[in-house]
Amino acid sequence: MSSPSDADVIRCSLGEPEAFGLIYDRHAATLLRFLGRRAGAKVAEGLVGELFRIAFERRKTFDGSRASALPWLYGIGANLLLKHRRAEARWLRASARMAPGRDAADGRVSAAALDARLLFPRVADAIEALPDDERQALLLFAWEELSYQSVAEALELPIGTVRSRLNRARARLRELLEPKGKDRVRLR
């Protein structure tokens, strides 16, 4: 017997609210990790219950033609994170400081790692400086590995809009790699 889809469970929860607990059991760990990657453990732990409470209260608006609730939940989570921009920025900057170290597995500091050390804080700043909608699309795509379609569902946008936002975000990051003039950072 196959288990009921998220859409089935949410439909059932309209009459039997307790059924919504199953949506939590299925997806809470994924969403907790998502929130943690964006804003650190403390904020994520405080938000995960809130995320599902909001989802529960809005469950009537869930589009039942979508089998999985995951993109919808990501969308609610992404919105919640907007209220925690400072924590998000702090976590991102700390991640930028730690990122290059992970490449130096052999203990030697390579030229590439040195370059990266200069570059990653700037990448973090650039991501931070993206308009909210572009940052959301970029991080759902790059970190959560959602498809264009899922990003579109999460952000409630047409897929074409997601594509153009991702292209804009990419272009802004590319400017970092190919800056004009003396500001250039070498990459290999």
């Binding site: 609210p17 307790e18 919504f20 607990g21 939590y24 059991d25 809470a28 760990a29 907790l32 990790r33 943690g36 990657r37 650190g40 453990a41 994520a44 732990e45 995960v48 219950g49 809130e50 995320l51 599902f52 409470r53 529960f56 209260e57 976590w91 991102l92 700390a94 991640s95 930028a96 730690m98 990122a99 990266a116 570059l119 990653f120 990448v123 973090a124 991501i127 970029l138 991080l139 795509f141 790059a142 970190w143 975000a169 990419r170 272009a171 990051l173 590319r174 970092l176 790699l177 990459l187």
Partner: protein, 176 residues
């Protein structure tokens, strides 16, 4: 390196406390209860007296899968719990201090004057759970006229609980 690969390098997982997911679920369950409760006002709530409410709550959760409704706990400044409610499958039972309202725990009375029937979905799994948590089992699971299967357990203070699973889709009491 491509711009997206750069962004991917900054992906870093956080380390969570093990209980983080449980706490999140409790937030959700409170919202669910708030929606359910005004709709369905309980008309009968048995009150079960205990000497040690905190130990009772822990046992009832661990052994029987009851869940405390945290928002309704009455706790003194000294941390002593005076009353709590636990729920199971939409029904609620009060867990009170023995001596209050003239009710006495069988642990001090030496005798029980009532037992509570609880209807469950998977009685054998429930039995295993109760057993593992240290419940005493005066009567193990057995079938009754192919209509239901039941077992009885004693909790920490010797209150008797009878767990029942219907073996038919519609219980005879509801057949017309």
């Amino acid at each position: 390196m491509k711009p997206l690969d750069l962004a991917k390098k900054l992906r870093r997982d956080a380390a969570f406390e093990p209980a983080a997911l449980d706490r999140g679920k409790e937030t959700l369950m409170q919202a669910i209860r708030q929606e359910v409760e005004p709709r369905r006002r309980l008309t009968i709530v048995p009150q079960i007296p205990y000497e040690d409410i905190r130990a009772a709550l822990s046992f009832l959760e661990r052994a029987f899968g009851f869940r405390e409704i945290r928002s309704s706990r009455m706790e003194g400044a000294d941390g002593v719990i005076h009353h709590a409610n636990v729920e199971f499958g939409g029904s609620v039972i009060g867990i009170g201090t023995q001596g209050a309202h003239g009710a006495v725990s069988p642990k001090s009375a030496g005798i029980a004057s009532q037992y509570v029937s609880v209807y469950v979905d998977d009685i054998d799994a429930h039995y295993e759970r109760a057993l593992a948590a240290g419940a005493q089992i005066p009567r193990g699971p057995r079938d009754h006229a192919r209509e239901y299967r039941a077992y009885e357990a004693l909790d920490l203070e010797s209150h008797r609980w009878r767990f029942v699973q219907w073996m038919q889709a519609v219980p005879p009491s509801e057949q017309r």
